[in-house]
């Protein structure tokens, strides 16, 4: 089954956007293609007039840092993220989440930009980017700008960006300060689709033996990825202890809105997993920040 007609590999963002304009809605941005092409085949989509492969655009395929931020191009593969010393140093949760997506062959071509552009409510990379309070650089309606990651999500599978007109160039998030740590974990079921039953990413900044600022994202939790703001507030300023973490987990159980899906899990199970995952990731992130949770 033919899935596309023409295939372009532009060498610059300008060239890519020019092609989008030229095809006036008939061309699709593609990176690894592991979601796009599989979905197009499954839905028996009419062939795209053109695919515009952004993985040979240097500014979209590098990981770099300046004093404040780590930058990851939208066309960076999951494997490159998993192996990146910069990511491992500043956002190990992102390496953990990118390391469980698909298998090695998929991670070798699939990109973080593609993961986010698909706007899945529980894209593993997305969940960690939310906890990292990441921003995305986009060309949206012809204008290039940085915006909060959350602004890209309009609904389950619905992105702000139109993949035939707009472009997701890359991401940035703050470097990890001293006394800070991150962690990601997810629960899968061994049957059916490879979508997480629930996943959780946290970013923790310690203030001595207490939680300073905390960011946590459990997904899927509603139609778009969101932070667990009440839980974050509860933790801020509290001593790092089993009791405090237990009360945060108890609040997470109350806070999450997880529905029963016969393809994934019951809401009852997912609530349990919210508790388990938040506890496990908080422990891990604290340990990485330099403080083992006292028993």
């Amino acid at each position: 089954m033919k899935l596309w007609e023409k295939y372009f590999t532009p060498a610059s963002v300008d060239e890519a956007t020019a092609l989008l304009v030229q095809f006036a809605g008939g061309a699709r941005i593609v990176a690894g293609g592991t979601d796009l092409l599989v979905e197009a085949k499954a839905s028996e989509h009419e062939p795209f007039q053109a695919l515009i492969d952004i993985t040979r655009i240097p500014e979209m395929t590098s990981i770099r840092a300046d004093d404040a931020y780590v930058y990851i191009g939208g066309g960076v593969t999951h494997t490159e993220i998993v192996k990146s010393p910069l990511v491992l140093a500043h956002a190990i949760c992102l390496a953990e989440s990118c390391g469980v997506i698909g298998g090695p062959q998929v991670r070798n071509v699939a990109t973080l930009g593609g993961n986010v552009a698909h706007a899945l409510p529980a894209g593993d990379g997305t969940t960690s980017l939310v906890a990292l309070d990441a921003e995305a650089e986009v060309i949206f309606q012809g204008t290039r700008s940085w915006m909060p990651l959350a602004a890209l999500f309009r609904g389950p599978g619905v992105s702000l960006l139109n993949p035939t007109r707009d472009l997701l160039i890359g991401f940035r998030f703050h470097k990890l300060g001293a006394g800070a740590g991150t962690a990601f974990e997810r629960i899968m079921r061994p049957q059916g689709v490879a979508l997480p039953v629930l996943s959780c990413a946290v970013w923790v900044s310690l203030d001595g033996a207490a939680f300073g600022e905390v960011r946590a994202c459990i997904a899927p939790n509603g139609p778009v990825p969101t932070r667990l703001t009440p839980v974050e507030k509860l933790l801020a300023g509290q001593p790092v202890s089993e009791d405090v973490i237990a009360s945060a987990c108890a609040l997470a159980r109350e806070t999450v809105t997880v529905r029963t899906s016969k393809y994934r899990a019951t809401s009852e199970y997912r609530v349990e997993m919210a508790d388990v995952l938040l506890r496990r990731t908080l422990h891990q992130a604290c340990a990485r920040a330099g403080l083992a949770v006292p028993a």
Partner: protein, 935 residues
């Protein structure tokens, strides 16, 4: 067309290609590099893996032009005058069965070793997580990779995990190299889709989107008018009888008035290219009137259900199968404990990695003097006969040539595209290929039966079973396929491998509008064992008896009678298999004493054990015969010819070993030709674990007859008494005179005698169910124990270890036989934990491979397997069947282990961690729902 420049296996390539090509299609269909296989086109199975600049990628979803300027390495590029160490060690460790996934496994491993010269088992699991193999169970693959890595580092290779056997002979009971294994590891092996014929057209099948509907009209005009379309055919174009079927002829070649399942074939077309065929298929217009759907076997049995096959005399009840033995009421009256429960098993999918493919060649094309079909099928002669009936031809007017088969497991017994390509090729006078997509394969072919099994087991205080009463419902789906036989086996084996003096078992095989069910490794016994063996553990618990002791007390042994009235006269090794497994379980706890279950932190652990038996051969009164022919050539080599399908299980090397043993020649001198209905005599269906026994005997006896004839001739040639012949080092010797087989063959030919012998072997006669005679020629026996870990916080279940012992009569090829056992166990682990083909009111939800999870290397447990060799008197060298027995008791062993770990009993599979966790949290003792049952 656009110029594509890249490097492939070190050579620059410039090719004018279509920009819409995937890399896999470009390699296979444009460049003819067919070593790269396509399994799913969903980036799920990984067998299409090639390296792009050294990085493994799924070539099936990788645009060819994305690879522009890159360096591509395929399986064809690995061997450089000699085999790559991975290729050599895959062979040495027995890591190649069907060979279809082998290129993908090797390429993925190659990338791993380039990066990591000494990978641990966990690192191998990580790297190969999404490169699937349905045959091996991954143990041998892991050993092969580590062994190759060691050799590449200059270290000593990993020793081959060779099972020990009794009394190895010269060739038999030796782990010789399988036939065509070198072709499989280098990518040279040809499966059906790898064949190319001049002028070949490409076909597609239009399938019903409804589970049950009336066909109001079929309009093919638009499709016919589409440029490049060569032919569109419907039921009106079937030249002969518009029905096929292996047991009941109830399945339309092309539906005429009604469709009975999603996937029923309605029209076929052929076009100049695959892409044109794909596009034109959407232009065939069919108007349907949906009819009420029968989606459940119990509903199918109710008077309210619409009757799906009005010509079938018992309506939706395809068959009521009964076992009656002793006095069931008296049996339960004398029982001190009675355990009764209901179990459910889902529809499951073979997921052989090679989707179905058939190529039709018209009579008169090149040297083909008759209508010929190339296909990887388990039953070539019945394919031929079914094609002939539908084509209105004589059986001798059709030739079926069996290609290599990329896995079957029972799923390639029914007709797929064989008749359709015969129709199109004959009409067009051109070769026509019909390759199913993975998604089409999933919805089309018969599956393992979903069952509902209620079983009641009675026992006396001393542990002796007194009675078993059972009721089984089997969802046969839309067409009969092998439902009658499969559900009969589920029924006759529903006592388990035990002495049960009183039994009453009723099975209802039902027609529904679900995907048809048919043969699948285990053949119904996989389902009944799930119920039987868990009831056994509960009987033991009720009696406060060790579950192993309970099984020992009741185990079948020589001299007892089965519930179908068969006196077991020999070859019942069940008790020894229990001994082996119990010894290993105890050894695992050498330090602290054996225990069935324990908890450490947030993890619960448990052992579970289950026994099984499985018939060898068709049995039940069906005549079971095979023919084989052995020919000697003047160069001293031999050829064994038989139409017995090798789908990776290894009948090719089995018959070659037996022939070599009988001829007293080295194995390397015997080649095998399988499955050409014009050149090879009928080896019968590859089903019922029968080939080693039945076709093995035919090959053994044919080889023996040839040796006799050649010895006679040799004696005449040298003027010695024939009985003084001795066989030494591949030669015949009379006193001091030595003669090689080649010269004898030459002499025979010169004297007008063909140096070949054919044998038609009839397995011992069996008796139909209900007559009380011997239903089967032999049974294989097995015991397995599983060690599981259950996460008490998440309900996740991991199988850490499986210990197995199997009585197979004799191991003809110990290493490859072990591969059958390991592969069977991992496949059964999938049955227990991961696999469920989901239908919603007759509509398959599992219509993508991405929605059907089979076990990956990550799920593969440590497997320890022992062999017990209780010779079967009539089996070749004492051998019995092994194909199915390993896939029977793994599921109940795991479920018993989960109970011993958590106290929760699993009544429905695949095990649902969600329901298990909820049960544990609430202190409930039973899980009665599976994944997808939640509302």
């Amino acid at each position: 067309m656009t110029r594509l420049s890249l490097t492939i296996n070190g050579k620059p390539v410039e090719f004018d290609a279509d920009e819409s090509r995937t890399l896999a299609h470009f390699l296979r269909y444009d460049l003819g590099l067919t070593g790269t296989k396509i399994g799913c086109e969903e980036a799920e199975c990984g067998i299409c893996t090639v390296l792009v600049d050294g990085t493994p990628v799924d070539s099936c979803v990788y645009p060819a032009f994305k690879a522009a300027g890159r360096e591509i390495t395929t399986i064809e590029g690995l061997a450089n005058g000699h085999l790559h160490p991975l290729q050599a060690h895959f062979i040495k460790h027995g890591a190649v069965q069907c060979g279809f996934c082998t290129p993908g496994l090797i390429m993925t491993s190659c990338a791993l070793l380039n990066e990591n010269p000494a990978p641990t088992k966990d690192e191998i699991k990580h790297a190969l997580k999404d490169t699937f193999c349905r045959c091996t169970g991954y143990s041998s693959v892991t050993n092969a990779i580590q062994s190759a890595a060691a050799e590449m580092r200059g270290d000593a290779p990993v020793p081959v995990n060779e099972p020990s056997v009794d009394e190895p002979m010269d060739v038999v009971s030796r782990s010789v190299e399988p036939q065509e294994v070198r072709e499989k590891v280098t990518g040279a092996a040809k499966f059906t889709d790898d064949y190319v014929f001049d002028g070949m057209a490409f076909a597609r099948t239009l399938r019903s989107p409804y589970p049950h509907a009336k066909i109001l009209s079929i309009d093919t005009a638009k499709a016919r008018a589409f440029p490049g379309v060569l032919s569109v055919m419907t039921h009106a174009d079937v030249p002969g009888e518009n029905l096929h079927g292996l047991v009941y002829r109830d399945w339309p070649v092309l539906c005429d008035t009604v469709v009975r399942y999603v996937g029923d074939a309605v029209a076929i077309l052929a076009a100049e290219t695959q892409e044109i065929a794909d596009a034109a298929l959407k232009l065939i217009e069919v108007r349907y009137e949906p009819l009420p759907v029968v989606a459940d076997p119990k509903y199918a049995h109710s008077p309210d259900a619409p009757v799906l096959h009005p010509n079938h005399p018992t309506g939706n009840l395809l068959k009521h199968i009964k076992v009656r033995h002793g006095d069931i009421e008296a049996g339960f009256a004398e029982a001190d404990v009675v355990v009764e429960h209901e179990y459910r098993t889902p529809t499951t999918e073979h997921a052989f990695l090679e989707p179905e493919c058939a190529i039709g060649i018209p009579a008169g094309y090149q040297d083909y003097d008759k209508l010929t079909v190339f296909v990887g099928s388990q039953i070539p002669y019945q394919d031929r006969d079914q094609i002939a009936k539908a084509m209105n031809l004589g059986q001798e007017d059709v030739r079926v040539i069996g290609t290599l088969i990329g896995g079957g497991f029972g799923g390639k017994e029914d007709i797929a595209g064989q008749i359709h390509v015969a129709m199109l090729a004959s009409a067009l006078k051109r070769p026509v290929k019909m390759l199913y997509t993975r998604q089409e394969s999933l919805i089309f072919h018969p599956k393992r039966h979903a069952t509902i099994i209620r079983i009641k087991t009675g026992a006396k205080r001393d542990g002796r079973l007194t009675a078993i009463e059972a009721e089984l419902y089997g969802d046969g789906g839309a067409y009969a396929s092998l439902s009658d036989k499969v559900m009969t086996r589920a029924t006759t084996h529903a006592t388990g491998p035990y002495v049960v003096p009183n039994a009453k078992i009723d099975c209802y095989a039902m027609y529904t509008n679900n995907t048809p069910s048919g043969a699948f490794r285990g053949f119904g016994v996989t389902q009944s064992a799930f119920a039987v063996e868990q009831n056994m553990d509960m009987v033991a618990q009720a009696l406060d008896m060790d579950p192993i002791e309970l099984r020992r007390i009741n185990a079948q042994r020589v001299g007892v009678t089965t519930a179908t009235g068969q006196l077991l006269r020999e070859s019942v090794g069940l008790l020894e298999t229990i001994d082996d497994v119990q010894r290993d379980m105890r050894a695992h706890h050498a330090d602290e004493g054996f225990k069935w279950g324990w908890t450490t932190g947030t993890k619960a652990y448990g052992w579970g054990l289950a026994c099984a038996y499985k018939n060898t051969g068709l049995g039940g009164g069906a005549p079971d015969k095979s023919e084989a022919e052995v020919e000697a050539f003047e160069d001293g080599t031999f050829e064994v010819r038989t139409a017995a399908a090798d789908m990776g299980q290894g009948i090719a090397h089995v018959v070659a070993q037996m022939a070599a043993e009988e001829l007293h020649v080295p194995y390397e001198r015997v080649k095998v030709l399988l499955c050409d209905t014009d050149l090879t005599p009928n080896g019968g269906p590859t089903t019922a674990s029968r080939q080693t026994y039945v076709t093995g005997n035919a090959a053994r006896l044919a080889a023996g007859a040839l040796r006799q004839a050649m010895s006679q001739t040799a004696a005449e040639m040298v003027d010695h008494a024939p009985e003084t012949v001795r066989y030494e080092e591949g030669l015949m010797r009379f006193d001091d005179v030595r003669l090689d087989y080649g010269s004898v063959a030459q002499w025979m030919k010169q004297h007008g005698v063909q140096p070949r012998a054919k044998y038609e072997y009839w397995a011992p006669k069996t008796a139909p169910l209900g007559t009380g005679g011997d239903m089967h020629v032999a049974f294989s026996y097995a015991t397995q124990a599983a060690l599981v870990e259950v996460d008490l916080e998440t309900g996740e279940v991991h199988v850490l270890k499986v210990v197995s012992s199997t009585d197979i009569g004799r191991a003809i090829n110990p290493l490859m036989l072990q591969g059958q056992i390991e592969g069977g166990i991992v496949m059964a682990l999938g049955n227990c934990l991961t696999e469920s083909f989901i239908l919603e009111e007759g509509v398959p939800w599992s219509r993508f491979l991405g929605r059907y999870k089979m076990p990956s290397i990550k799920h593969a447990p440590e497997i320890i397997s022992h062999l017990v060799e209780h010779r079967a008197a009539d089996g070749p060298y004492g051998a019995k069947g092994v194909g199915e027995i390993p896939s029977i008791n793994t599921t109940p062993a795991i479920c018993n282990a989960i109970t011993n770990a958590t106290g929760v009993r699993i009544y429905a599979i695949p095990v649902d961690q969600d329901a298990l966790l909820r049960a544990m949290k609430k202190g409930e003792r039973a899980v009665t729902t599976a994944w997808h049952d939640v509302r």
